[in-house]
Amino acid sequence: MANIVVLVKYVPDATGDRTFTSDNTVDRVGVDGLLSELDEYAVEEALKVVEAGDGEVTVLTVGPEQAADAVRKALQIGAHKGVHVLDDAIAGSDAAATSLVLAKAIEKIADYDIVMTGLASTDGAMSVVPAMLAERLGLPQLTFASELTIEGDTIRIRRDGDAATETIEASGKMVVSVTDQINEPRYPSFKGIMAAKKKPVETWSIADLGIEASQVGTAAAWTKVLSFEPRPPRTAGEIVTDEGDGGTKLAEYLASKKFV
């Protein structure tokens, strides 16, 4: 028996134009968005776990009104129900405040065994929310899982590092984050798309979670984005012509850029 809460985030479509609001936070309202691709791996893994045993997958998102699209997509893929925390006060929240809202929402969901998340969001890419959340909930965290096995109430994951591969396990309730190596997310089927229409989605405000407006939003953020500039366009590469000394020239180039 494993009920799983999967955190999903609505992010700006990376193939579209991305913009920032006047307070230098990512504009999540005026742009086309979608379910963060990295979260699809978490949804898939959660579905695999419940399909192999039993239990239900609840997807949870904190975000503006359009974030309901991310919930709907996850429901179409196969999740059973959704929760959307929607409140104007949340706009501009940093990772710490976001993890507070998520933690309170998960406590309100109450009936869960595993909280599953993606590797990072494809917009902020800070990758700290899972750890913050585990701390707030007082749960063990198994992060960056590229393989996951379950035995009873113990979960074991493989975590691939640069220098070593670790195997870690934990029992009982826990937070697990998964990488894009763990599975191949399925597409929502036609039946899934039709079935999602009838799946329950609850919308909660921060008041429903017992959170004050002063605890979230830009004002409560511990960090502030001072400025931003678009990445300069890619410049043309440098072509090394091999006149018998190609190897030397390549080595010199790499050394000049401090690669070797």
Binding site: Q76, Y187, P188, S189, F190, I193, M194
Partner: protein, 386 residues
């Protein structure tokens, strides 16, 4: 047009699938004339072959509009992949679903619906194409078995590694008025005497499976008769009406592909120091492509909506022929324009436009030629056309 938010989500899903699973491979498959069985299975997993099939056979019980959306989106990336779905459902599954007995449905539909198997539809013969009444293939009932002799040609999905059966029309006798009695019979792949000959070398649709079929003293059980004896011809014509709407969706995908490719290319390619898209001579032709795409889409989805709403057969027939005629002729025009916009590159196989150019022509031929559509439309108007 009544497209729901679910239709839009479904379209987005098929578009993603086509971009990730089809687009990277089609050029190679086309070059190799490779029929991608694996892709058919993946399309099956996605539920594409079962869109309009009943749930008891593993289908989704969905509407015809959704099927058109899937065909359009696949056809936008590759026409052969689009026709594989169109023929798999429209010509393979549809006759069984509409006219099959419970036993026939139980035997064949689950695998067809899941994309584990494909079925062909054998109407056309060397001497019977537009004039499908000229069927020569014969079937006689002998000791509780149908015995078939004859030949079919140009049959889609009929000889792939996963083809499980072909439904064929055959003369099963003569009517009192002297005209032939034509019935439809299910012939399972592997039945002795039934041979799918070497695949055709075609101008386009290289990764679609098309074979001539021969039947020599082929014995199948009597219960393999599909639908009513003597109704084979009428049944197949009814099947073709729906097929025409689906072919129109495929043609819309082709036009849209031309439009997308041209908009991108005309913005990038510069001559005389400016993008070619800044020249009215080029830009206006691309505007015409947009008109064809929108008009074609409107006709197609209107016909599909009529079918979904259960409009009278006569109305659907007329709408289907109009949609098929307009979109297929527009698709041929669109590929000609797009190839021209691409200049010399348009003639090179390294650009997808050349493939669309080769693939488009058959849209005006298969499932009733343009001439046949005009004939049907004229008849629908009450004209005394031959």
């Amino acid at each position: 047009m009544t497209l729901t938010p679910e239709h839009a989500d479904f379209r987005a899903m098929v578009r993603d699938f086509a971009a990730e699973k089809v687009a990277p491979h089609v050029a190679q498959w086309d070059r190799d004339h490779h029929f991608p069985v694996e892709l058919v299975h993946e399309m099956g997993d996605l539920g594409l072959f079962g869109l309009t099939a009943p749930e008891e056979f593993g289908g989704a019980g969905g509407d015809f509009t959704s099927l058109c959306i899937a065909i359009e989106e696949l056809g936008r990336v590759d026409q052969s992949v689009g026709i594989t779905l169109e023929a798999g459902v429209g010509l393979g599954i549809a006759p069984l679903q509409a006219f099959g007995s419970d036993a026939q449905k139980k035997q064949w539909l689950p695998d067809l619906v899941a994309g584990r198997a494909l079925a062909g539809f054998g109407l056309t013969e060397p001497g019977a194409g537009s004039d499908a009444g000229g069927t020569r293939t014969r079937a006689r009932l002998e000791d509780g078995e149908w015995v078939l002799d004859g030949a079919k040609q140009f049959i889609t999905n009929s000889g792939s590694a996963i083809t499980s059966l072909v439904t064929v029309t055959a003369r099963t006798g003569d009517r009192p008025d002297g005209r032939p009695e034509i019935s439809a019979i299910c012939v399972p792949s592997g039945t002795p005497g039934f041979v799918a000959e070497k695949a055709y070398d075609k101008l386009g649709w290289h990764l679609s499976d098309t074979h001539p079929l021969t039947f020599t003293d082929v014995h199948v059980p009597e219960d393999h008769l599909l639908g009513e004896r003597g109704r084979g011809f009428a049944q197949f014509l009814a099947t073709l009406d729906d097929g025409r709407i689906a072919i129109a969706a495929l043609a819309v995908g082709c036009i849209q592909a031309c439009l997308d490719l041209c908009v991108e290319y005309a913005g990038q390619r510069t001559t005389f120091g400016v993008p070619i898209g800044s020249k009215q001579g080029v830009a206006f032709q691309i505007s015409d492509l947009a008109v064809m795409a929108e008009a074609g889409r409107a006709l197609t989805y209107q016909a599909a909506a009529m079918k979904d709403a259960g409009a009278p057969a006569k109305q659907i027939k007329q709408a289907a022929s109009i949609a098929k005629l307009y979109t297929s002729e527009s698709a041929v025009t669109a590929t000609r324009i797009a190839t021209q916009v691409f200049g010399g590159y348009g003639f090179m196989e390294e650009y997808p436009i050349a493939r669309f150019y080769r693939d488009a022509k058959v849209l005006e031929i298969g499932e009733g030629t343009s001439e046949v559509q005009r004939m049907l439309i004229a008849k629908g108007l009450g004209l005394p056309v031959e």
